[in-house]
């Protein structure tokens, strides 16, 4: 194996652009590995991991671009590195002519701007957000890894100035029908939602749309908003906004676990809210006491159902769908039972793009007493020591840092998930594969199509062993999304995948399969 690299001083590119270049490069026949990254410390570690450790690389700065290629053939590396300039400049120069180089300059040029969308590396996002707030703008911060104390400062500043701080680590919002970040196209309607989870909001808004209703506004708060350090500043401001908004009739709040003190605050604020509030606080074991207009939900599906109920809409059409989509009955027995000679396959492997879906699926299994390993476990005793290797029942958040360092998120690019599906399929103990697909703005243009070949290959390799791999999936999105919900679902069903109407139901379906089988526990 040969390797080569080049460094371009002071040529900054955004990570998505570089990922595209990297993908094109890795598609070149003969290329084993490649990295096209800015020389941040994290990326330099990544390069070292690839065996690129030159002093020149260590000395490179965050503004310097490093391209590294591992391949069998020196000549190929030399040729590809020689062509890099064309790959890097083709789309950058002309388009950027009218761009501004700083937020100050952009604000001066367009004083009417009211929202600043920030997706810089986390170390810099706080600074840009503060400048935006000082200029009187609301902010949407997609960047994660922003220090918590900075988040607190920003949100306090925003509260003092009556500006909304969505994020850091905010995946999506819908403001007046406009999707910001990773959002699904949904019709407008009476439901307002506040969410600390991007995919949670996407699922909720999509299901509300599918049920025939619509969304007034969806306000992403960022994943840490309900931590006690932050105290739910954005969530509480959002509650006030939606409480006062004439278009909003019902409010839903979706979040991963919240801090105890913040929960108190939230409870108190919900009690004062003049509108019905549906709360889906994943991971929360107790019931909230938040007044007569509050309804609690255990899953996103339940939140949708109860929101619709609060509106007086019957939810049957959506959520009581029969659990078959191909005219085929659910397998009555544990699907891998007929395996011969080898240890009977019985384990579930969930490979998720959506962090909240991963969390929710774990909760569904644990609620049924089924222990499950994860790289982001509900129970820390079940943390996978190596996220690359599953154990027994495992549910992996492929959007976690471990998998996204220097690589695109699985919602954008299927490469990592494709590899992992094939890896899981080679494990003779695996009986069920659980997947999620997320459509909408910014997501891959054909999320299902990107994985179908891998799914088929996985099914074939199980068949070759004389076994059977049951693949279960849900697709988050709507008929208005460019990827087309029906088209995406049809491809899955064509491949023999069980497609459930929601992520929660897909997890429940797997739970039922496991319970009908050998129970999933050793011994």
């Amino acid at each position: 194996m040969a390797s080569g690299y080049l460094i371009r001083k002071n040529q900054y590119y955004d990570s998505v652009f570089l990922m595209r270049v990297a993908r094109a490069l890795s598609d070149e026949p003969g290329v084993r590995e490649c990295a096209v990254v800015m020389a941040t410390d994290a990326n330099k570690e990544l390069l070292a991991g690839l065996g690129i450790r030159a002093a020149e690389v260590s000395a490179a700065r965050p503004n310097d671009l490093v391209v590294a290629i591992l391949a069998n053939d020196e000549a190929l590396i030399a040729r590809l590195l020689g062509e890099m300039d064309a790959r890097l400049t083709s789309s950058s120069q002309a388009v950027r002519a009218a761009d501004y180089r700083s937020l100050e300059a952009a604000c001066a040029a367009q004083p009417q701007a009211n929202l600043v969308v920030i997706s810089t590396p986390g170390a810099y996002a706080g600074r840009e957000a503060r400048k935006a707030l000082e200029q009187g703008k609301h902010v949407f911060i997609f960047s994660d890894n922003v220090p918590l104390e900075q988040e607190v400062e920003l949100k306090q500043l925003g509260r003092a100035r009556r500006r909304l701080v969505m994020g850091p680590d905010c995946g999506t919002s819908l403001i007046g029908g406009v999707g910001i970040g990773f959002a699904n196209r949904v019709r407008r309607g009476p439901v307002g939602i506040i969410g600390a989870s991007g995919t949670g909001i996407q699922e909720f808004t999509s299901l509300i749309h599918q049920a025939g209703s619509g969304i007034s506004h969806a306000i992403g708060t960022g994943s840490h908003d309900l931590a006690d350090a932050v105290g739910g500043i954005t969530t509480l401001m959002a509650l006030d906004v939606l409480g006062a908004d004439p278009a909003t009739e019902v409010i839903a709040v979706i979040s991963k676990p919240a801090g105890a003190r913040t929960l108190e605050l939230l409870q108190e604020r919900i009690r004062r809210c003049p509108k019905p509030v549906i709360g889906c606080l994943l991971g929360l074991k107790t019931a909230l006491d938040a007044g007569p207009r509050f309804v609690q939900a255990r899953t996103i599906d339940q939140a949708v159902e109860r929101t619709l109920a609060a509106l007086g809409v019957t939810s049957a059409l959506l959520l009581r769908m029969p659990r078959k989509e191909k005219g085929e009955e659910i397998p009555p027995r544990f699907p891998g039972e007929e395996g011969r000679g080898v240890r009977s396959p019985r384990y579930l492997r969930g490979l998720f793009a959506g962090g909240t879906f991963c969390f929710q699926a774990q909760q569904v299994l644990w609620d049924a007493g089924i222990p499950v390993y994860s790289n982001t476990p509900l129970d820390s005793r079940y943390r996978l020591t190596n996220p690359e290797t599953s154990l027994e029942h495992s549910i992996i958040d492929m959007g976690d840092d471990h998998f996204t360092r220097g690589k695109p998120h699985p919602m954008i690019d299927a490469t990592e998930r494709r590899k992992r599906i094939l890896q899981e399929a080679n494990d003779p103990e695996v009986a069920i594969l659980l997947l999620d697909f997320i459509l909408g703005e910014m997501a891959a243009s054909d999320p299902v199509g990107d994985l179908i070949p891998a799914i088929r290959q996985a099914q074939e390799s199980a068949a070759r062993r004389g076994g059977r791999l049951t693949v279960v999936a849900s697709v988050c999105g709507t008929d208005l999304d460019v990827q087309g919900l029906d088209r995406q679902k049809a491809m899955l069903m064509e491949a023999g995948v069980y497609v459930l109407p929601s992520s929660a139901q897909a997890a429940e379906f797997c739970r039922d399969l496991i319970q009908r089988g050998e129970g999933g526990r050793d011994g």
């Binding site: 700065r61 503004n63 950027r96 997706s119 009187g136 910014m442």
Partner: protein, 56 residues
Amino acid sequence: MDDLMALFTGPLIAINVGVRDFGLALEQQDVQVIYVDWSPPAGGDQEMLDLLDQLL
């Protein structure tokens, strides 16, 4: 009107700082977007960043 509520009633005009695709997705929804061709300010030099915070 309150500045906070105004966000939810008026048209959005966005400034995109960082990954360009966020702005492009907004433009597809007919939102006016101004792009900042962002790179780490002061090349990531912390001392300079602190000074710039005070001076610019």
